[in-house]
């Protein structure tokens, strides 16, 4: 318990530090102005969502091969957390896009693929609500999870080929980003990933408790 509270405090401090960095340390971007500061939330959230979906995929594969409920708990927790981060990306995007591009939404490659990704994991979570039996639900949703994760590169590929106007990534290329900007970006990426881990862990325990309660209820019925 103490460790959990401690890690929550650490995550909050990290997030506060990233917010401080984004608001007070980084220089204001020359052409886009103050609104560009949303970048320190927007872009790392996108990357965090992708890593949560990767964890979900690992959970799905784990369940298909090992058939232990814990893999399914991991998958559903990370899918939900990933969807939450993905929602943040989709909400902060338009706030940035309106002043920068003049429109709230452009059907550009990365926006469109993020939206499709969001829809895919929404379907995954809806599927889970429509199957009663725990083992059956774990099995078929794991299968669907593998299917949608395989679809992700195809979605990106097809939409990329089709149209693109999003700012090309400047973070990993040298010279694209001011050093302070880069540091704050990495700090905020790290903090959000820590937040993701914390949330997945919490959600996992909830799912574990639910699963165990369900098993107990079934035993009680049988007795």
């Amino acid at each position: 318990m103490a460790i959990r509270s401690l890690s929550a405090v650490v995550v909050i401090l990290l997030l506060a530090a990233s917010a401080y960095g984004a608001f007070f340390l980084v220089p204001t971007e020359a052409t886009m102005g103050i609104v560009q500061r949303i970048f320190y939330l927007h872009a790392p959230c996108g990357m965090t969502a992708l890593s949560a979906f990767l964890v979900c995929f690992i959970g799905n594969l784990g369940y298909l091969f090992k058939r232990q409920p814990k893999w399914d708990w991991l998958a559903v927790s990370s899918a939900e957390v990933g969807l939450a981060f993905c929602t943040v990306v989709l909400l902060t995007g338009p706030i940035w896009a309106k002043p920068a591009w003049g429109v709230y939404w452009a059907w550009d490659a990365r926006l469109t693929s993020t939206l499709v990704l969001w829809l895919l994991y929404l379907s995954y979570l809806i599927l889970r609500t429509l199957v009663e039996d725990l083992d059956r639900r774990a099995l078929i949703s794991s299968f669907y999870g593998v299917f949608i994760f395989l679809d992700v590169p195809l979605v990106y590929g097809s939409i990329w080929w089709w149209r693109t106007q999003h700012p090309q990534p400047v973070v990993f290329t040298s010279g694209g980003l001011d050093p302070t900007m880069r540091k704050v970006f990495y700090l905020s990426w790290f903090s959000l990933t820590a937040l993701m881990a914390l949330l997945i862990r919490q959600r996992y325990e909830l799912e574990q408790a639910r699963g165990e309660a369900e098993v107990l209820a079934r035993e009680l019925e049988a007795a």
Binding site: L64, V116, L119, L120, S123, I126, L127, L130, V131, E132, R136, L139, I140, S142, F143, Y144, V146, F147, I148, L150, D151, L154, V155, G157, S158, I159, W161, W162
Partner: protein
């Protein structure tokens, strides 16, 4: 070898079941026809406008039709628990999927071929000069539709709200297929028709990825 012979027998069974009643085919054909007709009211279908919107609406119609027509694919094996019988009779459960998806590809392709002339006439687009190329695009697209649709119908058959669930699971997954097949079709209906090999390659990649996934993991969906 037993995989192929099993598949052939099961495919025969699927085709026999369908061609005895032809329920699925007639309903789907009429359904697509209705979408194509109703869509023509939403814009003025002159030759130029149709070139812009036609390929997209054609593929949307196919996507909707597939998500409805593939519904009963596994569901009808549940009524008398014929799925258990199927499982017992084949050496590799992949044969069940393979037979069903071959049959569904065939049904879809047949439906599409019957509707193409209607589409060409209603929307003022000359299809005859590019028919062989168009058939190739349709075949690859339908294969992708039935690989994913057949498999997901095995999922939706085990859930509640299954009629609504299959489109919900299938449509976002088909976004890449929709883009690729629409672009390939649009290039063929252009004033200077071209066969876009890059999009065809993409369709092949889509088919191969999901076919492999079904081959690897499909049997888990048929477990008791």
């Amino acid at each position: 070898m037993s995989l192929l012979s099993n598949t052939a027998v099961l495919l025969g069974k699927e085709l026999r079941t369908e061609f005895r009643s032809r329920e699925l085919l007639t309903t789907t054909i009429v359904f697509i026809l209705m979408i194509v007709v109703l869509f023509s009211f939403t814009f003025d279908p002159t030759a130029d406008e149709s070139r812009r919107f036609g390929p997209g609406l054609l593929w949307m119609a196919f996507l909707f039709a597939a998500s409805l027509m593939l519904q009963p694919c596994f569901l009808r094996e549940q009524t008398n628990d014929t799925l258990s019988a199927l499982r017992l009779s084949v050496s590799d459960p992949f044969a069940i999927f393979l037979a069903k998806l071959c049959a569904n590809t065939l049904f879809l392709a047949l439906t599409e071929l019957l509707l193409l002339p209607v589409f060409g006439v209603l929307y003022n687009v000359p299809l005859l000069p590019v028919l062989p190329q168009l058939a190739l695009v349709l075949l690859l697209g339908s294969l992708g539709l039935s690989v994913t649709g057949t498999t997901l119908s095995a999922i939706s058959a085990q859930a509640r709200m299954r009629e609504l669930l299959l489109p919900l699971l299938l449509l976002p997954l088909l976004a890449p297929l929709l883009i690729a097949s629409t672009e390939a079709t649009a290039a063929l209906l252009d004033r200077n028709p071209t066969l876009r090999w890059d999009w065809l390659a993409f369709l092949i990649a889509f088919d191969v990825v999901f076919l492999t996934a079904v081959w690897l993991f499909g049997e888990y969906l048929l477990e008791e």
